[in-house]
Amino acid sequence: MLIFEHSRPGRRNYSQSPATAAETGNIPQNLLRKRPPLLPEVSEMDAVRHYTRLSQKNFSIDTQFYPLGSCTMKYNPRACNSLAMLPPFLARHPRAPESTGQGFLACMYELQEILKDVTGMAGVSLTPMAGAQGELIGIAMIRAYHESRGDAARTEIIVPDAAHGTNPATAVMCGYKVVEISTDKEGDVDMEALKAAVGPQTAGLMLTNPSTLGVFEKNVAEMSRVVHQAGGLLYYDGANLNAILGKVKPGDMGFDVIHINLHKTFSTPHGGGGPGSAPVGVGKRLLPFMPVPVVAFEKGAYRWLAEKDIPQSIGRLSAHMGNAGVLLRAYVYVRLLGEEGMHRVAEFATLNANYLMAELSKAGFEIAYPTRRASHEFIVTLKDLKEKTGVTAMNVAKRLLDKGYHAPTTYFPLLVPECLLIEPAETESKETLDAFVASMKEILEEAHTQPEMVKGAPHTTPVRRLDDVKAARELDLVWKQT
């Protein structure tokens, strides 16, 4: 039932708005609304019940295991939320003077410094509001760098074929042509293809490392040399930073610019699809182009650096300073981890992934790159299962929902047929992983004994398989009063 169907004309919440309805003053009639908007007229309790019940129809980290590759669904510590929501932080206006926000700015400054150290970059700007925006600004900085040198011939961005869809989409938004290069049998970028692709037209290379295939690009140093020698710059997509946090710094691998998904590696909530936050880190060459604002500490006080302080800055990305509340959550998280905890993240994320890979392999699942170490994620391919039983990766994913697990990432990366990309994250216990393996084994058996049942999954969720084709053909995007 929709909230609108709970609505009754004339019902309202007396505590939630002014008691008297004031006049609209001297506003001309043609500017005044004639009909009220279609908002529900429900009691406070109706609304609370309705949305509480809706929440119960969701899977979430707080209720389920999410072995969701490339998404780093780790536990979101509750302290991060409650401390970011302390009343003075919430009440602070973004345009309030810096002198009234020294406590807040101290957190931002320290977060910047910590992210610099962890990534090995020379500067960090906290403003991008999501991974895709971090990418956009990263590539825009590469463009600004080449332009500042009068090097207008660089028109191409190289992207491996295993990359996230945002990479090519971002390059195009920055006015670049995308050149895709292939992956070799071992899951590494094909070095010959890279060497053939670079040239005076190369603006840069976008790379995720460990890659979306779940393996560390062994040749990253050589790739960096090849691209730099051709005059291009290297962009690090931080989607998989969790796999190397505290172990390898992107700056040490030769990257010139990086975005960090705080909603992955730094445990800020996914919130059902946002808000994200994606600070960008830059090497020395790109320092003059950083997006503003950036926090500085000068003469004992914190202040925002703006366009006049960084005159070649690529500019602004948000009306204020980015997703401040998300940044506060990440700050609390890094302080709780501390140096030692930071090293442990990659260690235990990698331990969990390699253990899960070993156990699933023993249980009869085919691993896409069996000779490689898993990073914090790995790929299972169900090509064989599909041929024998007709059960697809999507069917297995949906059947996992019945067993109380969120589905792994399916059909991504596109290179591996019938694939499940599995990332357990460091916060899951061995018992959870063992129970997941047991459920996967059950599904494997079911695929052979009752394939139709598996294909019809899920069976226990609030709704069963939904008709996507109908949704797109008979668009129903807003409710209409009948």
Partner: protein
């Protein structure tokens, strides 16, 4: 180890299963030269008690003020239920709803949100939100260019939030799009339709129309919309959603209505929080739906015929189209929209209107209280919503500093963005201010101005004595 549950026994058993001796062995594919030794910039870990104390001290150091700053972020009361429900783990820690069967709660909520926003803006459809108001405007400009096909020019009034204009430039500059700034009337504070003809001689893709504009002034939206349409361009409304509870929605502007409506969703239940996270909204006419960026939720049925909700029109998006996507956008602001939807359900059409109208009444009441102060006057004649540009007889920064000493954040100095306006401050009053608060503001402003003028006159007489 924070948030890592492994016992020594677990680690041993897991390594044995893998066939490795140590955890370090698992990193043996990483060239040794790349491995990091230390993290010198990361301090030792704190426990929850210690970090709580630190954050409490820092938040308290920032103090509490009576806030009269608006400028794109507005203080409104937020019902307690909004964030108590929004931060339930099932909303807070859930993933993007790609697995529809496991995400019906978020998906239904987003469908309800789309319905509310489409109605509030008077549009046919809404997406499931954008990053913030500024980036939503940039995306609307890109969308207009995609659908117009023959022109890549956007007309942008100078009365649009200056930072929005700067964000639009950052986002569209590498796509060959030209953004042309339109002048405003120094008398009314509006973008006058009759002043636009010289800009309309060459073809353009869209005219952006703010309501209210950055000065808090209401624009002549009907005439502006009709003018854009008469030039075969789209009209993009940039609106404050709270204002729409009392103002004509973009979908009803002029003869045919604006084509796209975007704006900052923050006034709908999102705390000020130093600037984010907020959310941007975008709604449009049915004909443009396939050009709309971002996530869109549709209602459909499951295999048993039961109604349910899914992400739809995904063929526009980057994870399917890659380099041919309408935008590189991947996330929306799901959690913020959760709060906004609950906020709108709790206030309802009547409550939202009362809040908007009370805010409007409060700025009028404040302006009335300021009227007796010498040299203090509204600089624009156009009608306002809940914010107004006011000229002061003294340097604005000095006045604001003195008000801050009285726990009042007195407004935004417009000098940085509109130097031609001299000593002008942008003041906002919403429903959160009582009559006493407004009186207090007027008194302290009066005192501040008196102090400055007596300091000045002392300085003048001192100068005359010494000569």
């Amino acid at each position: 180890m924070p948030f890592i549950p492994h016992t020594e026994e677990d680690i041993r058993a897991m390594l044995e299963s893998i066939g490795a001796n140590t955890i370090d062995d698992l990193f043996d594919e990483i060239p040794a030269a790349l491995k990091t030794g230390t993290l010198k910039g990361v301090p030792p870990g704190l426990n929850e008690m210690e970090i709580s104390r630190l954050m409490l001290e820092r938040s308290e150091a920032d103090g509490r003020y009576f806030n009269f700053i608006g400028a794109g972020a507005y203080e409104h009361h937020i019902p307690a239920a909004v964030w108590q429900i929004t931060t339930r783990g099932e909303f807070y820690s859930s993933y993007t709803p790609y697995q529809a069967e496991a995400s019906q709660g978020s998906l239904q909520l987003l469908y309800e949100y789309q319905t509310m926003m489409a109605s509030l803006t008077g549009m046919d459809v809404s997406n499931a939100s954008m990053y913030d108001g500024a980036s939503a405007l940039a995306e609307a400009a890109l969308m207009a260019v995609r659908s117009h096909k023959s022109s890549r020019r956007i007309l942008m009034p100078a009365t649009i939030h200056p930072v929005y204009r700067s964000v639009v430039r950052t986002i569209v500059k590498n796509q060959g799009i030209e953004v042309i700034e339109l002048p405003y009337c120094r008398q009314s504070g509006q973008t006058l339709p009759e002043s636009l003809d010289e800009f309309g001689q060459e073809e353009f893709a869209a005219l952006v129309i703010p309501q209210p504009n950055f000065f808090g002034v209401l624009e002549q939206v009907d005439a502006l919309t009709d003018w854009a349409h008469s030039k075969n361009a789209l009209a993009i409304g940039v609106v404050n959603p709270m204002a729409l509870a009392m103002l004509t929605p973009p979908g009803e502007w002029g003869g045919k209505g604006a084509d796209i409506a975007v704006g900052e969703g923050q006034p709908l239940g999102i705390p000020l929080s130093s600037g984010g996270p907020y959310f941007g909204f975008m709604a449009c006419k049915q004909a443009l739906v396939r050009q709309m960026p971002g996530r869109i939720i549709g209602r459909t049925t499951d295999q048993d015929g039961k109604p349910g909700f899914v992400l739809t029109l995904q063929a526009r998006e980057q994870h399917i189209r890659r380099s041919k996507a309408t935008s590189n956008i991947c996330t929306n602001q799901g959690l913020m929209v959760t709060a906004a939807t609950i906020y709108m359900a709790l206030t309802g059409p009547d409550g939202l209107r009362r809040i908007a109208v009370q805010s409007h009444a409060n700025i009028l009441a404040l302006l009335e209280k300021l009227e007796p102060l010498k040299g203090v006057k509204r600089i624009f004649s156009g009608p306002v919503f809940h914010e107004a540009a006011v000229a002061l007889p003294a340097p604005v920064d000095d006045v604001l500093r003195m008000l801050k000493g009285k726990q009042i954040l007195g407004g935004l100095n417009l000098k940085e963005y509109y130097p031609e306006l001299g000593n002008t401050v942008l003041i906002c009053a919403t429903e959160t201010k009582t009559a006493a608060d407004l009186g207090n503001y007027a008194n302290h402003l009066g005192q501040a101005l008196d102090n400055i003028s007596s300091v000045n006159s002392r300085a003048t007489s001192a100068t005359s004595l010494s000569t």
